[in-house]
Symmetry: none
């Protein structure tokens, strides 16, 4: 079933007010295994709502509209919906009576504009609004359903929970299963090349690839009208095939960061880690210590930003810094060995590079990062050139260093 | 002129990812005195994008489309736009050459999917993408304009600022001026109390207060149909009155972070800094080294997470750790003094606390952080209890430490 959400309100088209109602409605739909195919924000004035409603009706299914049911002249959702359905508006005495009762109860003076709220689209089923004056409306037209909800969030939520959700849950419930594959070390196009031919062509499964510097996520959504187990099996089947193609680039199957994976592996093994950072400036230590319980395995970090710090804290020979430069394989290996020796950790990661924007040369360009891992069996070193701004270079370098350790601890490569 | 914004991405239809690009584009339009009449989010798959494009074209004007230009098979913006315009796609050798050049420069292997990004809609003017591989496209059709922009926010923003904004600027009608006041050290309600009575009641000025842990931003927008100078004067008048109320809590009037302010003050003075971190785990060093040029004044950092690291690297007496505990004023003062002595820096910041979720006691609860600053004239220490999750405690503690140094370097308090 195609579901669309339309938020009505000129203020939502500006940058200051977020359309929180639509996000909340999306979450409730997700709870039912449903996802909208489109979300739209339109203003109160102009033809935007009517044209959006006509488009939504043309793709069938269910349309949830929030807002524009107030008493003032700029609230046009009733009129636009009637126009989109080629219907009229009717005055409902029972709705008016409820409005009058509410005003009497609070001792408010009833004004002429409030009478506007007693008009409903021809054929509408009225949804009571215990928290406000604007009633909701449930409309059926040639197999499509339009539900009009008031804009104030607590009114919209109350009405949806009490009167809409129970009926949607019955109305063609599909079961949804989601999976996540989180990879690092491959760019978006490399991931794409590996998974070629695995994009699902059945309508029940969706694969989305989401790339950010240092990470590519694959999200799998499968749905079934039969059972949750059937949806799960569809999702698992695709997930397995994707994982087989992606191999050791997969580092997680849930919303966790690489730091958490590494801390988990260290805790599993009962081994410890220290970190010596130059260009990443503390980011790797920060990411590791974001993980609760990291203090059990993370012995400490050195942000050896200046050459003097590399000499003093990590025991790098000044002659080595002189001859090779701080950004070199030799120095980063010595940094890793120095941190391991000094802290007594089982493993030590070290990074040195040029985060930019300044400091690059033709031989050592901005983005160049040397990474080393010292461990019980010796040293591994890598050289990378990362693209992007300073923050992106730092993040990708940190991600790669953590991945180097993950692979080692997992016995990969 | 009718302006529409369409964000493309199935992930944006779920509840987990906010469509930040469209909000940013809206702000840029507002700077020109323009506002979109509709904002739409559609998925990568299905007919949603094509039908939304057709609707936008039918209402005329300008359509900004963000996303769906990646190399993968689920990126369909090129195809959908061509279909909506009843045009074909053409392979552009010059675009392919630029992509190849980019891959060569970074030493990445070019894969078959990357060739997809060299296809553009017939008649498109190509917008170069210096920050990524997907070029943008500028399309004109019977008086309407469609602009395709890449989805990654830094690519979209860079391309829009450099290549789209100058051409749209001539369309603006109202002059808009924005100001930003960035504060730290006061909670949202303390800020509200200070600025009481200053919320503008004229329709030409808007004040928005945006709070996050460790920071409260005040955004001022003023508009005028007369001149940019008039809008600027309106904005400045309100900004001055707000700043007078907020006093030393104001640390910036642009989109910069506290780390950049501190690095700027140190560079102004020609003085240097080192950092010793326990509970923040490298975050303070990381934030300082996010600032280009920080290597001139930041001598290095110690992530002294374990007690052994505090003894070894910062010279803390084991007896002090034993008698007072690692989270104490005495130990954090010794950490700051130790870092200053060891690195020879003019200033040294130290932090020790309990980030949680575990490790709290009735006397030393989760969120307790001791902060010390060592400088030429001696030591200052503070004790705070921050609320929130582990990441929020780390951030607020780091923010407070940087602000302690900012105030000292600025001669405040």
């Amino acid at each position: 079933m195609n579901i669309e959400i339309i938020a009505v309100g000129t203020e939502l088209l500006g940058s200051r007010f977020a359309d929180t109602n639509s996000v909340w409605l999306t979450e409730r739909l997700e709870d039912l295994g449903l996802q909208p195919i489109r979300r739209t924000i339109v203003g109160d004035q102009g033809p935007g709502l009517e044209t959006s409603l006509r488009l939504a009706l043309s793709s069938g299914g269910l349309v949830l509209v929030g807002g524009g049911l107030g008493p003032t002249g700029d609230d046009k959702t009733r009129e636009a919906t009637a126009a989109a359905l080629n219907r009229g508006l009717v005055f409902r005495e029972d709705v008016m009576a409820a409005i009058e009762e509410r005003f009497r109860r609070f001792g408010w003076p009833l004004t002429e504009p409030n009478r506007r709220q007693a008009w409903v689209v021809e054929g509408a089923e009225v949804l009571a609004n215990p928290l406000g004056t604007a009633p909701g409306q449930w409309l059926e037209a040639e197999g499509r359903t339009i539900i009009l909800l008031p804009g104030p969030p607590h009114e919209l939520k109350g009405m949806f929970q009490a009167q809409v959700l129970p009926r949607l849950a019955r109305l063609g419930r599909r079961h949804l299963a989601r999976r996540l594959i989180r990879t690092t070390g491959l760019g978006e196009s490399a991931v794409e090349a590996r998974i070629e031919g695995l994009y699902p062509d059945d309508p029940d499964r969706i694969l989305t690839v989401l790339a950010s510097p240092g990470r590519v996520d694959l999200r799998i959504a499968a749905s079934s009208s039969v059972s949750p187990e059937r949806a799960g099996a569809l999702a698992d089947e695709l997930t397995s095939r994707l994982k087989a193609r992606l191999g050791s680039a997969v580092y997680a199957e849930s919303e966790i960061e690489l730091g958490e994976v590494v801390i988990g592996l260290l805790r599993r093994d009962g081994t410890t880690l220290s970190v010596a950072e130059s260009c990443t400036g503390g980011l790797v230590s920060h990411r590791l210590t974001d993980v609760p319980g990291s203090s059990l395995v993370f012995l400490g970090g050195y942000v050896a930003y200046a050459d003097a710090a590399k000499v003093r804290d990590l025991g790098i020979a000044p002659s080595l810094l002189e001859s090779r430069g701080a950004v070199s394989q030799e120095v980063v290996e010595a940094m890793a060995s120095g941190a391991r020796l000094r802290t007594g950790s089982d493993w030590a990661l070290a990074l040195s590079g040029i985060a930019g924007p300044g400091g690059g040369t033709p031989e050592k360009p901005v983005g160049l990062v040397h990474i080393a891992l010292a461990g019980p069996a010796g040293l591994i070193a890598e050289r990378h050139v990362f693209s992007g701004r300073r923050e992106a270079v730092k993040f990708q370098a940190g991600q790669r260093a953590l991945d180097l350790l993950r692979r080692r601890l997992s016995g990969l490569d």
